[in-house]
């Protein structure tokens, strides 16, 4: 969907590659691309303005002017500035006397309740004794939700129903924690708009009676320009100490992180990376910067592959490849696994450098050719799939009719398959190295890309 900044800048600089020197106008054009890329990533307009001014200052200097690869230089500067602005990772502040109170605040639907449970699990694993507090007395079933999550991770939940004020519940929870030697109290507060004065007063009261060591704003990674106002609003009323970005496992660019960080000046502490309770990671500025810039995200691809393809499947496939026993059944499995990873455009888009390629190839055609390949294999009998050498002319005619293709299509697939088999046998003989490294590779055998038709 998005072109990466590198591609766009490349376009700008390609035009002047022959001229040699960069002019003021060239820098302007490049800065316009930087600006648009950041806006598309949902970085706030005003933040973008300041940011571009900083990048321009550096770009106009010698660094870029005398560089042989101005596009890369500009991207490098942007990347460095982004990392700088996103700030260093910071751990939770658990100094001072126990119990430490962590208060989670944010808009409705930003993911506070889930994040409360994730933090509790993480703290419990690191040897703390956390207790969760259901201080959202408004949303229907919010208390049940926290109680269910608490049970899943074996962390107690303190709740007092929906008719007791949130501040009272929070105060009682802290007292209880002190008595029963819980070390951290995690307050799950109701979602609220930063402009809802009455609800913001409630937060101030909760803060007053519990004196939290951390007040964490939970921000949805998909938030747009509004992020700035949200962060400003909460920061003014309850003085935030940290930020947590949730739903980072989607394809949102997460530019809001830059906006909220800029406005509040407090560090980003964690990222929510999935629906399951262990899915929480300490914040890493370089990774998020790459994401905001839309540079390929190999890590996400690997994560996605790990999610859809089990270790055992991969190991079994590796054995088959080494033994040269790879047949059409296995081939079909591989095709299906690739399909499970998602649309080809998405997969290729995540690989740096391939971003560009995806534009040149007709992805629908490639996707269609995958389908045709699968249809042909599906039209074979189990015996034919296991032993392709029995595929005579009559069988091929039947397969072509069954899959709605021509005999030529079937011939081509069988030939490609043989080539691939040969290639793999060679690899098996010369490669011979074992261990984890190979496992990753066996997921998509070399030569298989030929099968995608349009891609070569």
């Amino acid at each position: 969907m998005f072109e990466s900044l590198t591609d766009k800048l490349q376009g700008v600089f390609d035009k002047l590659a022959r001229q040699g020197k960069l002019t003021e106008a060239d820098v302007n054009a490049a800065m316009r691309e930087v600006r648009l890329a950041l806006l598309e990533a949902d970085v706030n307009y005003k933040v973008v303005k300041d940011f571009v001014a900083r990048v321009r200052e550096r770009a106009v200097g010698r660094e870029v002017m005398e560089s042989l690869t101005p596009a890369q230089q500009v991207v490098k500067i942007v990347n460095e500035e982004l990392i700088e602005l996103l700030g260093k990772p910071a751990p939770l502040n658990l100094s001072g006397q126990t119990p430490h109170v962590l208060m989670l605040v944010g808009l409705q639907g930003s993911g506070k309740t889930t994040m409360a449970a994730k933090l509790a699990l993480r703290l419990r694993k690191s040897g703390q004794r956390p207790i969760l507090v259901a201080a959202d007395i408004y949303r229907p079933a919010a208390i049940q939700q926290l109680e269910i999550l608490g049970k899943q991770i074996d962390v107690p939940v303190h709740s007092e129903g929906t008719s007791v004020p949130a501040a009272t519940i929070a105060k009682n929870a802290v007292r209880l924690a002190r008595e029963k030697a819980y070390t951290t109290v995690i307050l799950d507060t109701a979602g609220r708009l930063q402009i809802d004065d009455q609800m913001m007063q409630e937060l101030e009261q909760v803060r007053m009676v519990t004196r939290p060591s951390e007040i964490l704003l939970i921000v949805d990674a998909m938030t747009g320009q509004e992020a700035v106002h949200v962060a400003e609003g909460f920061n003014q009323r309850v003085a935030l100490t940290g930020l947590i970005m949730t739903k980072i496992d989607g394809d949102a660019r997460g530019g809001a992180a830059l906006s909220v960080r800029q406005v509040t000046g407090v560090p980003i502490k964690f990222l929510g990376t999935g629906e399951k309770l262990p899915d929480i990671e300490p914040f890493q500025p370089d990774r998020l910067a790459g994401r905001i810039l839309g540079m390929g995200d190999v890590l996400s691809l690997i994560e996605r592959a790990q999610e859809t393809i089990t270790e055992e499947d991969a190991a079994a496939m590796e054995r088959k490849l080494q033994d040269g026993n790879f047949d059409f059944e296995d081939f079909r499995d591989q095709l299906r696994q690739i399909k499970k990873l998602g649309p080809l455009t998405d997969i290729l888009g995540m690989i740096p450098g391939l971003n560009r390629m995806t534009k040149e190839i007709d992805m629908n055609e490639a996707e269609g050719s995958l389908k045709v390949t699968e249809a042909i294999i599906n039209s074979m009998t189990a015996q034919e799939r296991r032993n392709p050498s029995i595929l005579n002319a009559g069988r091929r005619r039947r397969i072509a009719a069954g899959s709605g293709t021509t005999v030529q299509d079937v011939n081509q697939l069988v030939k490609q398959f043989r080539d691939m088999q040969k290639l793999m046998k060679e690899m098996g003989i010369t490669g011979g190295r074992k261990g984890k490294q190979r496992r990753g590779r066996s997921m998509l055998p070399r030569g298989m890309s030929n099968m995608f038709g349009g891609m070569n």
Binding site: G109, I148, L193, I195, Q225, V230, D249
Partner: protein, 316 residues
């Protein structure tokens, strides 16, 4: 004024008022600046630049913002318009044009049982929206049943039950962790037989559009509905948080591809959020906004009217 241009009665309806009130804060915020931009004496290049900037600040998205400005600018030149006030009206017309659905909604077509599927990313407000929607249609004489097919999120079923009670409609639910397809199957059967309902609204688990397997699950839910009732689901609504930025377009695209989304319900419009992304969505994907959620109460729900929305955004 805009109202008259589009042949609307000049008096605002109750829905319009609710929509406009909820947009009051938006109006005083970013989009409110539109009005002050057009208070300038002359139409200048700066005016167009400022306009583009303001639209982007409203999450409209760079391409559509640029196109809106261009189209307005061209019409202003072609029609030889000099007064900024008239240029402003043209901008509003263009915005309404982008937001106007190409086809009417299919919920009210005569049919024994209409099935509506509600989908969206986590935390967009699906369950709350369904509660409000049940209330809305019950008040309009429909017999509504809710299907609790979000069997994943902790307490999602309890939450829907509470909304069902508030709206006074029946809800069909299984245990947490049950197969959503099975829930839909039972919900359709119950609607047809024991409950004699004519409108079934199905709640689904929140899912990020990049989770391929979960998106496949939606296709399965659709197939289950289609097998039982001709051409079901008749509407598939994507619930979209108004504070969402450019990712809204990716959401709409993915949910349209795999769940066949036919309309958007824009929620949490009571904040200062603009929901400007919906302009891009209808423009680029042809998926129109159908309803808006304007607050936390059960009655805070209104049918979307492009004219009222634009008036709400920019002020009259």
């Amino acid at each position: 004024m805009l109202r008259n241009l589009f042949g609307r009665p000049s008096k605002a309806t109750e829905d319009d008022v609710r929509l406009e009130n909820s947009l009051a804060k938006t109006r005083s915020g970013v989009f409110g600046r539109l009005g002050s931009i057009f208070q300038a004496n002359e139409i200048t290049d700066e005016l167009w630049e400022e306009l583009e900037e303001t639209l982007i600040l409203g999450d409209v998205g760079v391409p559509v913002a640029q196109e809106l400005v261009e189209r307005t600018q061209k019409r202003v030149e072609r029609e030889n318009i000099k007064a900024t006030r008239d240029a402003y009206l043209i901008l509003q017309q263009e915005m309404v044009r982008i937001l106007t659905p190409a086809e009417p909604m299919r919920i009210d077509d005569p049919r024994l049982l209409t099935i509506v599927l509600v989908v969206g990313v986590n935390g967009s407000g699906k369950t709350t929206t369904i509660g409000k929607m049940a209330h809305w249609y019950k008040n309009r004489g429909r017999k509504v049943v809710l299907g609790a097919a979000d069997t994943f999120r902790a307490a999602a079923i309890d939450q829907l039950k509470i909304w069902g009670e508030r709206a006074g409609v029946d809800i069909i639910a299984h245990e947490p962790g049950a197969d959503p397809g099975a829930v839909v199957f039972d919900a359709v059967r119950a609607s047809q037989e024991s409950r004699q309902a004519d409108l079934l609204i199905v709640d689904t688990a929140g899912r990020l559009q990049t989770k391929y397997n979960l998106m496949q699950e939606l296709e399965k839910i659709k197939r289950v509905a289609a097998k039982q009732v001709h051409r079901a689901p008749h509407e598939v609504f994507l619930v979209l948080d108004a504070s969402t930025g450019q990712n809204a377009i990716s959401q709409a695209k993915s949910f349209k591809d795999s769940a066949g989304v036919t309309g958007i319900i824009l929620t949490k419009l009571d904040g200062t959020s603009k929901g400007g992304a919906v302009l891009s969505i209808n423009h680029e994907l042809g998926v129109p906004v159908r309803f808006v959620g304007t607050g936390e109460q059960i009655a805070d729900f209104a049918e979307f009217d492009p004219v009222a929305f634009v008036e709400g955004l920019v002020g009259q």
